[in-house]
């Protein structure tokens, strides 16, 4: 694309993407009165930190934040581990049912959480994990593992088998070859998959709503939704919470996105 055209399109896209986010931030810094009027729409006047102050001081926001971090990190770990190992098996090893399983990975997405959650909740409860963060950590991989597996399957397939075979000739086991040769090469893919799983876990709402009752164990999205009481929306408050919920993930992406892109493409290995 020609440079000028590229910049023009970029500008348009960035505006469209950034404006709602900007709006969210601005709203969170406005006071009640300004919210009700159309005065100085695009800039808080006066600049008010009350929403944030109240959020952190008078709600369980910090607890929710901790919970979200704990659940997201743990479930990502679990999903990535399970998915990576499974993907390697499906990509490299020959065994009965392999083809079927490889095709079936994405089919699990046909079943939406909006139905699954009721029987799933029964399951979680039977495991004694209702009203615990562990329950979420166990449940989240159900919708992140398929994508992780599929992503890494493709990734592994792009790494030439010769490398593992060389390692095994040198005396390594299959697993050893996987662990020491293939996995490091697949690091960007694993990272990309991990980022995806983290994002999904961080933003998840429905399971967190239903499986958890204790206020102190809530995750951020559910906690935020409790600021909506009846037909009175505290927009400023809500947006403040929204900003603080979104910032960590955005920061992570701005910092790590090049790994994400790299992970979605071949590493230095072209097959």
């Amino acid at each position: 694309m020609k440079r000028a055209l590229a910049y023009a399109v970029l500008l348009a896209l960035v505006l469209v993407v950034v404006f709602p986010f900007y709006w969210m931030i601005v709203t969170s810094l406005k006071g009640e009165d300004q919210m009700r009027s159309l005065v100085s729409m695009f800039w808080p006047s006066p600049f008010v930190l009350d929403n944030y102050r109240q959020l952190l001081a008078r709600t369980e926001f910090t607890a929710w934040f901790r919970n979200s971090v704990f659940v997201a990190v743990s479930s990502t770990f679990l999903a990535t581990a399970v998915g990576t190992i499974g993907a390697y098996g499906l990509a490299r090893l020959q065994f009965l049912g392999r083809g079927f399983m490889a095709s079936a990975t994405l089919i699990t997405y046909l079943v939406p959480p909006s139905i699954l959650f009721i029987p799933l909740y029964s399951q979680i409860r039977n495991l004694g994990l209702a009203d615990s963060l562990t329950g979420l950590i166990v449940a989240y991989p159900s919708f992140t593992v398929p994508f992780v597996t599929w992503l890494l399957m493709g990734y592994f397939e792009s790494i030439p088998e010769e490398l593992e075979q060389a390692a095994m000739i040198d005396g390594a086991t299959r697993f050893g070859a996987f662990w020491r040769v293939v996995l490091p090469l697949a690091a960007p893919g694993v990272l990309a998959a991990g980022l995806y799983a983290f994002t999904q876990a961080w933003n998840e709402f429905l399971y967190a709503l239903v499986f958890i009752t204790d206020v102190k164990l809530r995750t951020l999205p559910v906690g935020l939704s409790t600021f909506i009481t009846g037909d009175v929306y505290g927009w400023g408050f809500l947006m403040a919470g929204a900003v603080l919920t979104t910032l960590p993930v955005i920061a992570a992406y701005i910092y790590l996105q090049k790994y994400m892109v790299e992970g979605l493409t071949a590493g230095s290995v072209k097959g």
Binding site: E32, R36, S37, F117, I118, P119, Y121, S122, R125, A130, L206, L209, V210, T213, D214, V215, V222, S225, T226, I228, T229, G230, D231, V232, Y233
Partner: protein
């Protein structure tokens, strides 16, 4: 006794360790002797507290929530019960409740909305004992509460407080034009709106959405009744396009006319959700609107500029009078609960007049009376605007009126059939008659499926 065991016992009492863990650790200390174990088991039992799980609605009356929580904790301390409270908002309560019922894990006590007893009747405990005791102590239940709490002859809910819609008027604008509050929708409200509105300044005479929302559906119910119509007849059979066809048609036509013919409503009103009219009113764009008392609460609590300029009056009526549906929050106990007696005790505690008064005082008119006795409380005279709230509640009717409240009626409300009907006329281009027939078919289907109860 070995100090280690007594330490463990303290931990158990403080709830720091679970009973199992206590038994395990203590068993190690005693060397697992039979005698030691029985002693421990007896100790563990004595130390274990009762636990009660309570689900509450997070009301916009934040002060009220705090009072309620405090009262429950106080009760817990007094009775030696460990109370676990869950707050939920209006949006998520149904999902959680259904999931927990299906998983066999409902709470002991839950605060429900008016449809709760009907909806969940299969899994709720009979609370007739508590409900009638409280009712007779407080002068009897108001009719609409009685009819909604009683399902199949027994009380499945103990009513707590009533919520109602009222008609909001900008008193300053009204007085500036030398007008008086409108009594009938047609023609008073239309006239009133026309004389007070100023579209050039984005000020509209009447703000009432017909979109899928509780506001919209509530309004539709009320207007049908006020014209002498309704969804159900006195036997609980569908009557939208049959028995009450004439009246319903007039009511529907009027409602649609406020948008299309009289143009007293702001454009875009069909896209409103429950929040929108609140916001529009607070932004000074509406002269009148229907809303629950939540709007008034929001204004007074935040000391909004319009709080003093707002007048609450009885909802305007139609040819058959002014009928409104009230809603009430109530307490329900699940059959699966092993602490039903404790739950009943808690209900009695919270509904005790002293405690309830404390709650009511901070509610700014939200906690309407469900018992006749409570209606006489001087609190309702403390703000002239409360009179409208009180009066509306006293003359309100139950969902399903003139018939009984049935699961079918609850479902028709839940599926927002009335607002869909109006929507089909305003945005779908159907004639009112066609929309009425279409809605009637839907209602019939639901009625067939749900039966009469």
């Amino acid at each position: 006794m070995d100090r280690r065991i007594s330490n463990l016992a303290d931990q158990l009492a403080a709830g720091l360790i679970a009973r199992r863990e206590f038994l395990r650790k203590a068993a190690v200390i005693t060397g697992g002797t039979a005698a030691g174990l029985t002693v421990l088991r007896r100790m563990a039992h004595a130390q274990a507290k009762n636990k009660l799980r309570v689900w509450l609605f997070k009301s916009f009356v934040t002060a009220g929530n705090d009072v309620l929580a405090k009262q429950i904790e106080a009760w817990g301390k007094e009775r030696g019960v460990d109370v676990e409270i869950d707050w939920a908002t209006f949006g998520d309560r149904e999902q959680k409740t259904v999931a927990s019922i299906e998983a066999g894990n409902p709470p002991d006590l839950a605060e429900m909305n008016i449809y709760g007893p009907m909806r969940y009747k299969a899994v709720l405990r009979d609370v007739t004992k508590v409900a009638s005791a409280l009712a007779s102590a407080k002068g009897g239940m108001l009719p609409f509460a009685e009819r909604s709490m009683k399902v199949d002859g027994k009380y499945l809910g103990v009513p707590r407080y009533a919520m109602i819609t009222v008609f909001y008027i900008r008193r300053d604008i009204m007085e500036a034009k030398g007008l008086k509050p409108p009594k009938l929708y047609d023609p008073d409200v239309v006239e009133f709106a026309r004389k007070t509105m100023d579209p050039a300044k984005d000020l509209w005479g009447f703000g009432q959405t017909l979109n899928r929302s509780d506001d919209g559906d509530g309004y539709m119910q009320n207007i049908l009744w006020s014209y002498g119509g309704g969804v159900w007849d006195k036997d609980g059979k569908p009557s939208l396009a049959t028995t009450f066809r004439e009246q319903n048609l007039k009511a529907l036509q009027f409602s649609v006319d406020t948008i299309q013919k009289y143009k007293i409503q702001p454009p875009g009103v069909m896209g409103w959700t429950d929040v929108s009219n609140n916001e529009a009113y607070l932004a000074g764009k509406l002269v009148t609107t229907n809303n629950g008392a939540s709007l008034y609460y929001a204004m007074v609590q935040k000391k909004h500029a319009l709080a003093d300029k707002t007048l609450l009056v009885l909802t305007p009526g139609g040819p058959a009078g002014s009928l409104v549906g009230a809603s009430c929050y109530n307490w329900a106990i699940f059959q699966k609960s092993k602490q039903a007696e404790l739950a009943e005790d808690l209900i009695r505690w919270l509904e005790d007049e002293k405690h309830f008064k404390e709650y009511m005082q901070v509610s700014i008119g939200q906690a309407g009376p469900v018992y006749k006795g409570r209606a006489d409380d001087p609190y309702w005279k403390s703000d002239p605007n409360f009179e409208a709230i009180l009066q509306n509640i006293l003359r309100s009717v139950n969902l399903g009126y003139p018939g009984p409240m049935t699961p079918a009626a609850a479902e028709v409300q839940g599926q927002k059939i009335l607002t869909d009907m109006a929507g089909r006329v305003v945005t779908g281009g159907l004639s009112p008659d066609a929309a009425l027939k279409e809605a009637h078919a839907r209602v019939e289907e639901i009625w067939k499926m749900r039966g009469k109860g």
